[in-house]
């Protein structure tokens, strides 16, 4: 009997070994996302299945990148502590500062001028009930990031606000993200519709969230 098992093992070894190795690789891949997904570990998200496809993923991210680097997104993800304004991304007039919570400081808090809704009129302050920059301990900088750097940052929970897959996907419909497509009079829109952006965003994430090569611009 012992010999028989041994024989069977020998004869099926290559196939089995391959299967084990493949399983391990898949498991490692899943674990990689599972680690990223730690904040949502208690909730199982069955809506989206990751099907790795590096080509489709990088292609989708190129679209995502054009939106995130547009003024409507990047102006509130500055490399410094002063938000940006305009299509030329100049420093916000009056130089309001980020503050610890991202909502400004002292008499210069975002909500002092930015109302819950857009103020009517050309170039008047845009509005949102939750207007703010990312907080000081999680700056989530877009300005100056290459496609590769930004892609890596977006899926790193230590740099993306502790978001896992589910929260990243949900973030496409966040109120402040949506505000980019309702920026108030006199401001250009992101380079594609919100629906097209959301589709590219989800495609990028669900095909493995691959980062473009370092040479990609």
């Amino acid at each position: 009997m012992k010999q028989q098992i041994s024989t069977i093992n020998k004869s099926t070894f290559p196939a089995k070994a391959l299967a084990v190795v493949a399983s391990l690789l898949i498991a490692v891949g899943v674990m990689a996302f599972a680690i990223n997904d730690k904040p949502d570990a208690s909730k199982t998200d069955t809506s989206y299945v990751v099907k790795k496809d590096s080509v489709a993923s990088v292609k989708a991210f190129k679209q995502v990148y054009t939106v995130l680097m547009s003024a409507r997104c990047m102006n509130c993800h500055p490399s410094g502590d002063i938000p940006l304004q305009g299509d030329d991304n100049h420093l916000h007039t009056m130089a309001p500062k980020r503050g610890i919570d991202g909502k400004g400081v002292y008499a210069m808090k975002c909500a002092n001028c930015h109302q819950p809704t857009n103020t009517p009129g050309l170039h008047m302050p845009p509005g949102n009930p939750n207007w703010h920059l990312p907080p000081a301990n999680m700056k989530m900088v877009f300005q100056g990031r290459t496609p590769r750097q930004l892609a890596q940052q977006l899926v790193d929970p230590k740099r993306n606000g502790n978001k896992g897959m589910k929260k990243l996907i949900e973030h496409a419909d966040d109120g402040l993200v949506l505000a980019g497509w309702n920026p108030g009079d006199g401001r250009t829109l992101p380079p594609m519709s919100h629906a097209a952006f959301k589709k590219a965003w989800i495609t990028w994430l669900t095909t493995g969230a691959y980062a473009p090569s370092a040479k990609a611009k």
Binding site: M94, Y106, A107, A111, T119, G121, H123, P125
Partner: protein
């Protein structure tokens, strides 16, 4: 009808909820210390406190103030004796004076949140209040003096 509390007094205002709070304060309630400067939240002359925060009343809808606490320059102190007002008098800060009520209301938030501000803190807090006479140096000195007066007043209690 919108009810709001201004300087501790309840007011019922019969106006469009979209009316800027500034017009309700000045034209309906009759408190004209708060000034109209730019109408676009760019200059700070219209600054008042809404639940303690220094909002620009020219772009703040009356509806946002419904049921809330508003304080204008007239309500900053009982007898013009807020440390900032004392310091402003002591150092003759205003020139034309048009922006000064907004300057004081912004400075009051700074002093409340940071009783010992540095020059940088003052710049960070006051950079949204423009003075066409350029009294910025005196404003900065007066905020330092007010901080000192405030500390002394606290110490003597």
């Amino acid at each position: 009808m919108i009810t709001l509390t201004v300087n501790g007094q309840k007011h019922k205002v019969d106006a469009d909820p979209n009316m800027p709070l500034l017009w309700a304060i000045r034209d309906i309630i009759g408190l004209t210390g708060t000034k109209y400067g730019c109408g676009a939240a760019q200059c700070g002359a219209c600054t008042v406190h809404l639940n303690g925060e220094s909002v620009r009343s020219c772009v703040t809808k009356l509806s946002r103030a419904a049921g809330q606490q508003v304080v204008t320059i007239e309500g900053l102190s009982a007898n013009n004796n807020h440390p900032l007002q004392q310091a402003w008098n002591e150092l003759n800060v205003p020139q034309c004076g048009y922006c000064q009520s907004g300057q004081l209301m912004s400075a009051a938030v700074l002093l409340r949140e940071n009783p010992q501000p540095t020059d940088q803190d003052i710049d960070d807090a006051m950079s949204g209040n423009i003075c066409r006479c350029g009294t910025y140096q005196r404003i900065r000195s007066a905020i330092h003096l007010a901080a000192e007066l405030q500390r002394k007043a606290m110490a003597s209690k």
